[in-house]
């Protein structure tokens, strides 16, 4: 095991983990405040990717503008879906919320199929994204470095918002105890909308890097990141923002270890192993890695 291989491994884990951390954060923001497991989050990502596709193929806008509009699209979808589809369900049981978000997800997937195409489409990505660069002696696509850098920046920004602005404090309070926060004058609608806006924003960033990696967009593409997000959030502890980040990196770590260590005959089962590990972990430690401040129910 020489330094080169180790370094390559580290970069893979870091870049994958960064992306997964962003995915997980997008989920946990909404879950923390509304206790909603947002199945439609995958579709926030897909919308953004479709915008990247449409603008890239049918217009000649410069890529920074395309990226920006893509992110705005997912922010808009996030905000609108809360307003239209989730607000009527405020205060309902967790199961009702879950099923609703599932239904919204299905509706959006079908709309993509009908409105654009059931087949996958190639997303034009600026060439430099996939250009190979040398980092500490390892050859890796530039996008890996970009995602690590982007995630770092975004994390710092989010920490600043959550710790040093009143809105951030209000959101943290609301996710601990929503009713009491309202009693302090924190407006419910504002806090929830902001959560969805942040979630949409993160989805937009994820869409850029996800379609850069896969090169394409298709109606069901949101399922993979969604699944990753769920697992990362649950591993990290569902009520903790830092937990989501940790969960993302842990997921990337396990996935990469499995890729390296599984015998070739079993490689196609990697996801099954992955999720089996997750199930075992959850059975042993349902509250996740980082203890949040909310008591999850576990009995027996």
């Amino acid at each position: 095991m020489n330094a080169q291989v180790l370094l390559e491994f580290a970069i893979n884990v870091l870049s994958m983990g960064s992306l997964y951390a962003l995915i997980a954060l997008g989920l946990v923001f909404v879950f923390g405040i509304c206790k909603l497991i947002n199945f439609a989050y995958g579709e926030f990502i897909t919308v953004s990717a479709y915008v990247l596709y449409l603008l890239g193929v049918f217009t000649s806008l410069p890529w920074p503008l395309v990226f920006l509009i893509g992110i705005l699209a997912s922010v808009a979808i996030g905000f609108l879906s809360e307003l239209v589809a989730f607000r009527p369900f405020r205060g309902r049981s967790l199961d009702a919320l879950l099923v609703t978000s599932f239904a919204v997800s299905v509706i959006m997937q079908r709309l993509f199929q009908l409105g654009i195409s059931p087949r996958s489409k190639a997303v034009p990505i600026p060439a430099f994204f996939n250009m190979n660069v040398e980092l500490l002696g390892v050859i890796t696509p530039l996008r890996n470095c970009l995602i690590i850098g982007t995630t770092l920046v975004l994390l710092i920004v989010l920490v600043i918002i959550m710790k040093y602005t009143v809105l951030g404090v209000a959101m943290r309070g609301a996710s601990e105890n929503f009713v009491t926060a309202r009693l302090m004058g924190v407006p419910a609608n504002l806090v929830i909308s902001v959560a969805f806006i942040i979630s949409g924003f993160l989805a937009g960033v994820v869409a850029i890097f996800w379609s850069a990696r896969t090169g394409s967009v298709e109606p069901l593409m949101g399922m993979s990141p969604l699944l990753i997000g769920f697992i990362a959030v649950v591993i990290g502890g569902m009520h903790s923002l830092p937990g989501a980040v940790v969960g993302g990196f842990v997921y990337a770590l396990i996935a990469n270890i499995l890729s390296l260590t599984l015998p070739t005959s079993l490689l196609s089962f990697r996801d099954a192993f992955m999720f089996a590990i997750v199930i075992v972990f959850l059975v042993l430690k349902p509250e996740g890695l980082m203890r949040g401040n909310y008591q999850e129910e576990r009995v027996g």
């Binding site: 009143v166 309070g173 105890n177 009693l183 302090m184 419910a188």
Partner: protein
């Protein structure tokens, strides 16, 4: 600030019916609070005392009846709007935000009605009133003891300079020393002219400091009046308040 006349109550509840699902918890409750008063609501567990506060503060929507605050009909208003209007609730069980620091808890308490200069002045005041908060200013709320959390919860209620401060069982679960501290504090607040609506199971202490009191039983107001007028009535004290001392009823 309120522009109601001296005689109009700052809070007036008429014929309030509140239900949890299909179970009625309040049956036609009426009460009022005047500016500067300290009004106590007493009664045994489950009599509906907390329910009243939840309905007033907007946490529960009443089935029928009306709530007027500062001469406005606020029935069915959302909690955050009521707070902005000048209502503050110190919830049952403290309900401070455990992962937020004392400072952040206080900042949140002033959310709708924050003024920087006033906040700074308030802090000075609070540090004298609640010295423990100064010590623990940057510590997470969850690390405070029960009594300290109660102080924090009350400070959090005060920091928005409410026109009506409502307190839900502030002495619950506290040691006798702390209970003394709390009631001394309430007396101090009253002397500053703050209008207080106090829900307390510890009827003995609550009635000792209140201007007026309402006795609840089974979701109804069974008696309303001044504590001194109640003292002689044996029925009231035994049936509705349990024992005179401490008021620790099942």
């Amino acid at each position: 600030m309120s522009n109601c006349t001296e005689n109009a109550p700052i809070l007036q509840i008429s014929d309030l019916y509140v239900a949890y699902g299909s179970i009625l918890a309040l049956h036609g409750v009426s009460l009022e609070v005047h500016k500067g008063e300290l009004v106590s609501i007493c009664g045994v567990n489950g009599a509906g005392k907390s329910t009243v506060l939840k309905a007033i503060s907007g946490v529960l929507k009443p089935r029928s009846g009306s709530i007027r605050f500062k001469d406005k009909d606020v029935t069915g208003w959302k909690p955050e709007h009521l707070h902005k209007l000048g209502m503050a609730l110190v919830p049952e069980g403290r309900d401070i935000f455990p992962s937020l620091t004392v400072e952040e808890n206080l900042r949140l308490g002033a959310f709708g009605r924050y003024q920087a200069k006033r906040f700074a002045a308030d802090l000075e005041d609070f540090f004298t009133l609640f010295p423990i908060l100064k010590e623990r200013y940057h510590q997470a709320g969850g690390l405070l003891s029960g009594g300290e959390q109660q102080m924090l919860a009350i400070a959090r209620g005060l920091i928005s300079h409410p026109d009506l401060l409502m307190m839900d069982e502030p002495s619950l679960g506290l040691s006798p020393n702390r209970v003394d501290q709390i009631f001394d504090l309430i007396i101090e607040l009253k002397s500053r002219g703050i209008t207080i609506l106090l829900v307390e199971q510890n009827a003995g202490r609550a009635l000792a400091i209140a201007d007026r009191a309402y006795l609840f039983s089974n979701g109804r107001v069974e008696y309303a009046g001044r504590p001194q007028d109640m003292a002689g009535d044996v029925d009231i004290t035994s049936v509705y308040l349990g024992s005179q001392k401490g008021g620790d009823v099942g």
